[in-house]
C-alpha cells in the first residue's frame, strides 16, 4: 500500500519537475494522498491559466471524494444527493484504494477549497485549500 502510494506520488512529483513552466515555480502536476480520511497535503498553490493535473491516491479502505470549488459550490454539495461523481474534472469519486487523475485549468486567481462531502468527512478534517496565483 505504501509502495503504491509512493510510486503514484513520486511519478506525479517527478512529472511536476519535468512539466513545470520554466518561468514559474508553481507545479502543474500535483499528488494528493488520502490517508486516514485526511488529505496530504492540505495547502497547495497552482498557476492560473495553465492545465494542472492532480493525481489522487486513496489509501483508505473506504470511499472518498475530492471536490474542488468555491464556497457556493461546496454549499451545494453539502446538501447534494449525487452518490458518485466522475463527469466533471473538479468532482472525483475515489473508491477504496483507487488512484485517479484529473486535469483542471483555473481561470481566476483566488482561493478554492477541496473537500470530501461524504457524511461526517468534512467535519473529520477532509478539507484542503488551493490558492490560484496569477
Amino acid at each position: 500500500m505504501i509502495l503504491r502510494t509512493l510510486v503514484a506520488l513520486a511519478l506525479a512529483a517527478s512529472a511536476a519537475g519535468a512539466c513545470a513552466p520554466a518561468n514559474a515555480a508553481l507545479p502543474t502536476q500535483i499528488g494528493i494522498r488520502i490517508h486516514y480520511s485526511r488529505f496530504e497535503p492540505t495547502k497547495i498553490e497552482v498557476p492560473m491559466g495553465v492545465p494542472v493535473t492532480f493525481t489522487l491516491v486513496n489509501d483508505d479502505p473506504i470511499e472518498h471524494e475530492w471536490l474542488i470549488g468555491d464556497e457556493s459550490f461546496h454549499a451545494r454539495h453539502r446538501t447534494g444527493t449525487e452518490a458518485v461523481h466522475g463527469d466533471r474534472p473538479n468532482e472525483v469519486s475515489l473508491p477504496p484504494f483507487a488512484t485517479k487523475t484529473t486535469t483542471l485549468t483555473f481561470d481566476k486567481p483566488g482561493a478554492l477549497t477541496f473537500i470530501c462531502h461524504f457524511p461526517q468527512h468534512e467535519a473529520y478534517g477532509m478539507v484542503g485549500g488551493v490558492m490560484v496565483r496569477p
Binding site: M1, I2, L3, L6, V7, A10, L11, A13, S14, A15, G17, A18, H35, Y36, S37, D59, D60, P61, I62, E63, P96, F97, C116, F118, P119, Q120, H121, A123, Y124, M126
Partner: protein, 342 residues
C-alpha cells in the same frame, strides 16, 4: 507492516450499555445516517485462560441490514447464542446503566480478509475475520458497511494489537419476521482463549466527533482483583464497583445457558464510561492476576518495534529506498528527455 504485530494481542472484553439514543451510538451507521442497532450491555468474564464475552444486539426499529465491528483479542473457539439473563442479572447486581456501529447490504465475499468463522444467531449474521485494518475495512466496505471517516485509523489501531474482528450484521427485516419487537436484544456469547482480558473502548467513539458523549458500562469478572490500565479515575472512566462477586450472583450467572464455566468465587468490577469522543483514545488493559497491565493493550503505547519479525521492517525500508531511487531515475529520464528535445 502491521501483520507481524499480530501475535501481540492481549485480549478482549466487554462493552456495555449506553444511555444514548440509537442515533448517537458508537460508529453504527445505517442508511441515511440513521442508527437502528444498539449494542447493549456486555460482560467479559475471564477464567482458566479463557475470555467469555457476552453482549447483546438490540433491535431499535427500521429495516434493511445494520452491523457492528468489534475487535477481538484472539480467535474465538466458539460463537453462540448467549444466555437469557446474564446481562440483566449483572445490571441488577451493580445498579445499572445501560450501551453500540455500520450498515450492511450483503455484497459477495471478495476481500482479502480471512473469514475464520460464520454463524447465524436469530437475525444476526456473525463473521469472525482475520486481517489488517485495510483488509478488514475493505471486507466491510464490500459487504455494504458504510464506515465512518475515523474507521481506517481505528481499524489499524486495533489490527496492530490483534488482527481479529467480529462483524455482526443485523437483518432488521428478518427480526421483524421473527416477531422481534423494538428493544428486544439478541445475546451473543463469544469464547476466546487468551492471555489476559482486554476491553476495546476507543471503538465506542467510532462515528462520533469531538464533544459527542459516550456512556457505557464494562463488567469484568476475574478470579481475583484485577489490575487495570488506565486506572479508572479520570479521562471519562469511573470505577463504580470493585468487590468479591456475591455467591448469589455467581449462582445466578452459572445457571444461565452456556455459563457453567462461572467459577465458585471471583471478583466483580464495573467501570462506567462517561466520556467525550475526543477523550476516548484508549482501551482498558486488564491483568487478571493483579500484576502489571500492558500499556500496548491499553493503547497508550504503539506495539514495540522489537517485534518477532523485524526483518519485514527492513524489507519495507529497502523497498522505500528502491522506490525513491526509481522515482529519481524517472526524474532523470524525464529531464534528459526534455534536454534532448529542447
Amino acid at each position: 507492516m502491521r501483520r507481524f504485530l499480530a501475535g501481540l494481542a492481549a485480549v478482549v472484553a466487554a462493552l456495555i450499555g449506553t444511555t444514548q439514543p440509537a442515533a448517537a451510538c458508537a460508529g453504527l451507521i445505517g442508511p441515511n445516517g440513521a442508527v437502528n442497532l444498539l449494542r447493549t450491555s456486555t460482560f467479559a468474564g475471564y477464567h482458566d485462560g479463557v475470555e467469555h464475552y457476552v453482549t447483546a444486539f438490540k433491535f431499535a426499529g427500521g429495516s434493511g441490514q445494520f452491523g457492528s465491528l468489534i475487535p477481538l483479542p484472539g480467535i474465538p473457539s466458539s460463537v453462540e447464542k448467549g444466555g437469557d439473563w446474564t446481562l440483566q442479572r449483572l445490571i441488577r447486581e451493580t445498579t445499572p446503566v445501560p450501551v453500540g456501529i455500520f450498515r450492511s447490504a450483503g455484497a459477495p465475499l471478495t476481500a482479502d480478509a480471512q473469514v475464520i468463522l460464520q454463524v447465524r444467531i436469530d437475525a444476526l449474521d456473525i463473521t469472525v475475520l482475520k486481517g489488517g485494518g485495510a483488509e478488514v475495512g475493505r471486507w466491510a466496505t464490500e459487504h455494504g458497511f458504510r464506515l465512518p471517516p475515523a474507521a481506517p485509523e481505528v481499524l489499524d489501531f486495533y489490527a496492530a494489537r490483534s488482527p481479529i474482528f467480529l462483524a455482526a450484521i443485523f437483518d432488521a427485516d428478518a427480526a421483524k419476521a421473527r416477531g422481534q419487537q423494538i428493544g428486544d436484544g439478541t445475546p451473543v456469547h463469544v469464547t476466546i482463549p487468551t492471555a489476559n482480558p482486554w476491553v476495546p473502548l476507543r471503538i465506542l467513539a467510532l462515528g462520533k466527533t469531538g464533544d459527542d458523549r459516550i456512556d457505557a458500562d464494562v463488567y469484568l469478572l476475574t478470579d481475583q482483583r484485577p489490575a487495570l490500565l488506565p486506572y479508572p479515575l479520570a479521562n471519562g472512566m469511573r470505577l463504580d464497583h470493585s468487590a468479591p462477586a456475591t455467591v448469589s450472583l455467581l449462582t445466578d450467572l452459572r445457571s444461565d445457558k452456556g455459563m457453567d464455566w462461572i467459577p465458585q468465587s471471583g471478583w466483580l468490577t464495573k467501570i462506567a464510561i462517561a466520556a467525550s469522543a475526543s477523550q476516548l483514545t484508549y482501551d482498558l488493559a486488564v491483568d487478571a492476576k493483579g500484576a502489571s497491565p500492558s500499556r500496548v493493550a491499553a493503547g497508550l503505547e504503539a506495539p514495540a518495534s522489537s517485534s518477532p519479525t523485524p526483518s519485514k521492517s527492513s524489507t519495507d525500508t529497502v523497498a522505500l529506498i528502491g522506490i525513491a531511487l526509481a522515482a529519481l531515475g524517472a526524474l532523470v529520464l524525464l529531464r534528459r528527455s526534455q534536454t534532448v528535445s529542447a
